[in-house]
Symmetry: D2
Subunit: 483 residues, 4 copies
């Protein structure tokens, strides 16, 4: 797998309180988090007792003009970028979600995936709730609205007690910002400070762009309320109120954030991603040594690992595959199709590097195997004599229920084929995966990471994906109407 | 008032069942109903057990391309055009509204205004409902979703029993189309047939364009279920099921549909609009005679009345004001402002007609008086010696709660000024209104029309507009959060 | 024919000098002239020694935003709206045309059609000129550029001496505005004043909107140079310099401007268009009397004539056909086609008016007859018992070479069919045309109008259209390249 | 300098003959050449005796939809991408340029810069030519049009004999494709074959994407005519006719293509760009050794060189600066400005890599020094203890007249400051440039490269840039008009 062989849905969230240009800063935050979701983007701002929203399909840079940012007044803002999702890919699933309820206007942005969303949705629907999206995130707002607790924060906590699975959630009301991370801490969420303002973001690269200082992560199970500074000089303690109201969970940080999803310059789960990747490459060179001439990373995700692999093995690093960075979301293919076109349009081999060489090809993972096959084809066509595929993570054998939607086990090549069979399928001369143990060592794990996709052993109860798929269709067909 | 001095919100609805090109026909229906709302438009189609939706801000002709219509498969469709509304003017209030609930997907389009929407919304919110729009129409879907009745139709009826005010409602589910008109029949809704398909629409001009035959109006208080033809040759009775499940109300057809809102070629409430308008002009000439040289209508609404006035009075009709039909929704005004610009950009006087003449200027109503003042200025600048303003309806003294949102009584010039004072304000030489009695005679009333905006006497209980205005703001500010 | 059965190309031009908001005023001028061309629009402004241009396909209201107008600085501007043209319908034919030559930047806007453009183009091409558009207007710039005369004005006059046919031309350079009308005066061009600024425009309705005073028409054969006011109080004589440098021609004002093209509120060729049309209707009632119940105009062009017809005949006027003013440039037709759809989408009959009536249907002209046929069908379907078509101009038998591009004589129904045959073709019960004599009387002719399209007798030498058609194709195919 | 500190204008060209999907293939070719120009893009296709054009401002992926490609029929096509230019940045300078002349329709795409364009333009203007663009490329079409030679090819050659400077030109007529490279061969142009079709392109990466085989480069001074295959099996010799009609020039390949402009996977001037860059890095490590902890490239241009530097020096390579690949052409900056924002939005330091380290920062060049200063600031803020800037080319001291428009010598920091002064200006601890000798060795020069920007010694006669700048303004202001 490489970045474009979509492992699944992912999102990025960003919230800011007490900044005179809140929406502009949120825009920049999303800019830095764009790699976490390129399908839709949205920003909500709070001004007086109102919330304002602008969202749509597309990239942050294309969606938001200065004129559109002007429509988002106020000193607090909430932003979201989204890739695909647990629901459909359509504009009605774009986030943040903004609603009115008896508590007033509320907006919410979610990164992660709830494992009991179907049950909750079914119960809520049975109780008369109507849903505007097919997103799992919407249930949180229903739960908050139905709570009888006096404050939005209390209602939020009550809702959190009912949801299961993975969530880094940020809620904006006219009064304050709430941020929470599930007790297992599946997805990242960090806290930053800039000038007088307080920021939360999926990755620290968003803090860097706006010159915010990284304070710490929101802890697993922690709920934060971020208020406007009263201006009485009381400082951070007053502004940032932390609670730990949720039952404690086993820390289960998503190891894939380090393997391929986060930006290498981000500090995620307290560790710089680049460090983990280089270490993965280093350990891979030890575990899966190979007699070769060049180490070639599949850009951009494989680059840091390739440095580690090259350094450990002594095999020189070369950029034998060049990525076209101007590839749009769609492209027009000739009718008379070009072989391996989908990959070719993004990657081109450097013949001079590959010709006659024994090549170590470095990637972060293999999902269905079809993209890897095309890449091996391309590298072979580029003249490589031998191709030794090395993967910086173990074989993917099980779907993720925590924000990475590998649809079913069946589609994962490693769930049905041996390493040798995969090697043959993709057409490589050899194939080696990093062991789970080494993978976890690379991220400096102290038993805190989730590796369910490599083991099939989930840290929480989950309903097999195969049974979930027809949920909404079933609902849709339920009306019998006496006929 | 004239067409562009917005009296308020209005909408047009269109539904079709059992047509192979349902969405295309709905598109044409909205095309013909465009005058009822130019702000947003949307179409939902039903295919299999799914609903598909496309909607947005703008004109039907601009929003819908052939490619977009292709995204709306199926043999049933629901369309809506909307002007401003009881809620805000924004994309989230665009209709049809489409949601999922325990009954499956449901979509709804509404023309009219509910008088107890605030109370219902408050109750629903207290019960935990969340609202996506600020539109009153959304409450109907919540009520349907909360109903325990077995079928969508029964739930719809249960919802209708709770709502008050004006509504012509059309609901589309994957199985069938529902149409209902409130017991007072405030807003129009007619039934048509074309080929094997059944159609409902706000005005018959939508039937005409698609070559549908006008069957009859949906009756006040009637609820229709329109099913797919079983193909067993049973015909119309089976397809179109009528019920009268609502408490009977006093018929209260909106007289403004005839005065200015509907298209003159439509049959509305069983009567061709053009006939009513010509008759209004004729009666106005009798009630408010004037010694003048020419009758000049303010296009386009005043034209039919001008024919009646001219014919009755013997004063020749002339088109002394020409309308620019290419005026966009916005236009750029010079910084160094042009006097009466807002009207000038749409209307231009024909000097040759007006110069030295005693002019009878015919309009349908006066709201704030500012537009009338500008028009009088323009006609005067065009050379008129005398300007006798004649209005084809009585003075507007009270807001409408049934789909025409005159914001408050205070803004209505006739609620605070006498006819003489209004005449002076607008700068005319004389001013004459049609009497209420004559207005109702012109629409061939048999005590069936609502004339509350002329009398302040409402056919249903209403909460004064002034008290309604801060509803959502109050809600928004309600959260005290213990501080 | 009616407005939408395109008789052919037409344009509108607008120029302004010495106004602090020149581009904004030009925008408004084009707004008022939009009926003269809806395909493309453009504005050039002059600032310092530079010209700035913004143009594109579409309506003025859609093309120009405030931000785009801001890109057009300076105190002089030139605008153009265009329908189809002597060249193709594409963006490269949009005007104004702006070029650089040894004289510096020059821009030009043209209304009319040059009858010797092909010969001039061929000569220029033989001499090495390259053409960017297929528009006849481009030759004028080549001629100006090739002139050795010292000033732009002299070069302009030299170019004018070489071109033949119809032109109302406006040229903008950084220094001044030039305006010229061909010696026959085929197309209109008027002069106005507003504040200190001087304006030229195709019709006076453009002056009205910007509060400019109508001064007079540019005379046939006149060339004007409009300079910036020196600020020395010398006034108009200095600013507006008139010359009559062209050989005198027989005045040949286009009678079609009065029959259907110009706005009724405009003064064109010194006469209000509305007056001419009403008079045409009046004379038509005398020449082609009919025993009927109602006079129904085809909106919008037939309205003024219908008043005249009704008044003269005593037959009451009724608006039995209603026009949908929201029709876009394109609309999606159902696959299962609707009869007479092209007309139906724009016009709807008022059954209550037409049913059982003997109808006089009033239109301005008949081109191919197909549109008239559809309208007659619609009126018949609306219930009319008899349909008496009356046309406010003589039969069209010959193409126009002066700015109205009826492609070939063959396509004109009246060139091959008798009035009785046309009547049968369109399905009317009777058909009557206004005589040429009466048409000319209606426009208060003193032998100054061109009526070539009714007589085939042209005021200038012309090359039959059939021979012109393949010009550019011939050129394209000329390269033999030795094979 | 790095890729986004614009050294100047550059373009990419692509032509194809005898392919059933010519426009689609041209689209893909431009896709691969997008890095050569992101401002505008265009495609012309030849079908029958006509040319069709689609062009506009923006990226290839955004401009061209399948529907738009459908408007480009035919089996031959010509494409162009453009950055800024010798003329202004506006839509009228977008290429290909398409005109009609006595030879029929001709289109042209140009990469390079003509050094005598001003003189030629002035002469052409004096001779009456009018110019639509401010691009130097337009003169070629005028010269071709004015030529009396019998064929387009002969006229093209005649034009080439008059122009001086840098050009890789491709011309498309309905009959054939012409391609030429100036006698010095400043800019690249290669030939490829795919199926039966013949292709020319700026870089081989465009051939790779469409699976075309790289045949050879167009030679300096060579003119190719590429005709349709007659289908008689005669093969390539017949299709591809080569001539060497121009006076021989000293080969002067642009060394900057290898330093930073071309894609590393391309073969340019017969050598893979990646090889040159790695060699530059290797030689730089020898010439400018430094005692440091890490080698950090400025992405993306510095990467290949960094590998060479690291390998030679033994200092480990690290990706200490991460590029945001989602940066749009514009972004909204906060009003309260962020320090070094312009660079920050694109690059982010990896603190974990930089902290406390002695960093060798690798870039390809320094233009004004301001971007380098910002990058040094960012790296310093990222924690670097020492920053040693190393540049893979010599100091830039003179503008380029061959397609890289450094505006004036004054703006080049190295033309007025010593290396020490530059080092101080950018805030580095040391600064070292690669020597010219080594640079040329790295590209495997056999005295064939142009290095005028490093020496000020130009291979052709040029007019100093300072004198050129006001050319069009002078022209604009030339008209005195007797006042």
């Amino acid at each position: 797998m490489s970045t474009w062989d979509k492992l699944g849905e992912e999102c990025g969230v960003f919230g800011i309180m007490s900044h005179p240009e809140a929406a502009r800063i949120a825009y920049l935050g999303l800019y830095a988090l764009q790699h976490r979701g390129q399908e839709s983007a949205g920003i909500v701002s709070a001004h007086g007792n109102k919330l304002h929203i602008e969202k749509g399909m597309g990239h942050v840079a294309d969606l938001f003009t200065a004129a559109r940012i002007e429509k988002l007044p106020g000193d607090a803002a909430l932003g979201h970028v989204r890739y695909s999702t647990a629901g459909e890919s359509s504009s009605r699933n774009a986030q943040p979600i903004m609603v009115d309820c008896w508590r007033g206007p509320i907006s919410l942005a979610h990164n992660g995936n709830l494992t009991n969303a179907r049950e909750l949705r079914r119960e809520l629907e049975q109780d008369g709730a109507i849903f505007y999206s097919t997103s799992d995130s919407e249930v949180v707002l229903h739960l908050m609205s139905r709570s009888r607790r006096r404050t939005v924060r209390e209602a939020f906590i009550e809702a959190l007690r009912q949801i299961q699975g993975a969530y880094s959630l940020v809620v904006l009301t006219p009064e304050y910002l709430l941020a929470a991370r599930d007790p297992h801490g599946f997805r990242p969420l960090c806290i930053g400070r800039v000038d007088g303002a307080c920021v939360v973001a999926s990755e620290t690269c968003a803090l860097d762009l706006i010159n915010a200082e990284y304070v710490r992560d929101v802890e697993p199970g922690e709920v934060l309320r971020i208020r406007r500074d009263g201006g009485d000089g009381e400082g951070e303690i007053e502004v940032l109120e932390s609670q730990m109201p949720l039952p404690k969970g086993k820390p289960s940080f998503c190891v894939f954030e380090h393997i391929y999803f986060s930006r290498p310059d981000s500090i995620v789960f307290g560790r710089t991603v680049n460090t983990s990747r280089r270490e993965m490459g280093r350990l891979l060179a030890r575990e899966q040594p190979v007699d070769a001439d060049v180490v070639v990373p599949i850009p951009d995700s494989g680059v840091a690992a390739a440095i580690g692999f090259s350094r450990e093995s002594g095999i020189p690093l070369e950029f034998g595959l060049i990525r076209n960075h101007y590839v749009g979301r769609t492209f027009i293919e000739p009718r008379q199709s070009i072989r391996n076109f989908g990959v070719k349009v993004k990657l081109n081999p450097v013949r001079e590097i590959l010709r006659g060489k024994r090549v170590v090809l470095l990637d972060d993972s293999i999902v269905r195997g079809t993209t890897s096959q095309k890449i091996v084809n391309i590298v072979r066509a580029g003249g490589a004599k031998e191709i030794h595929m090395r993967i910086t993570s173990p074989p993917l054998v099980a779907p993720c229920y925590y924000g990475i939607d590998i649809p079913t086990r069946r589609e994962l090549i490693a769930s049905t084929k041996s390493v040798d069979e995969i090697c043959e399928f993709i057409g490589a001369d050899s194939l080696g995966y990093l062991s789970l143990e080494a993978t976890l060592r690379a991220v400096d794990d102290k038993r805190q990471f989730c590796s369910a996709c490599f083991t099939g052993s989930y840290p929480t109860e989950v309903v097999p994906l195969e049974r979930q798929k027809n949920l909404f269709v079933e609902v849709a067909g339920r009306d019998d109407d006496g006929r």
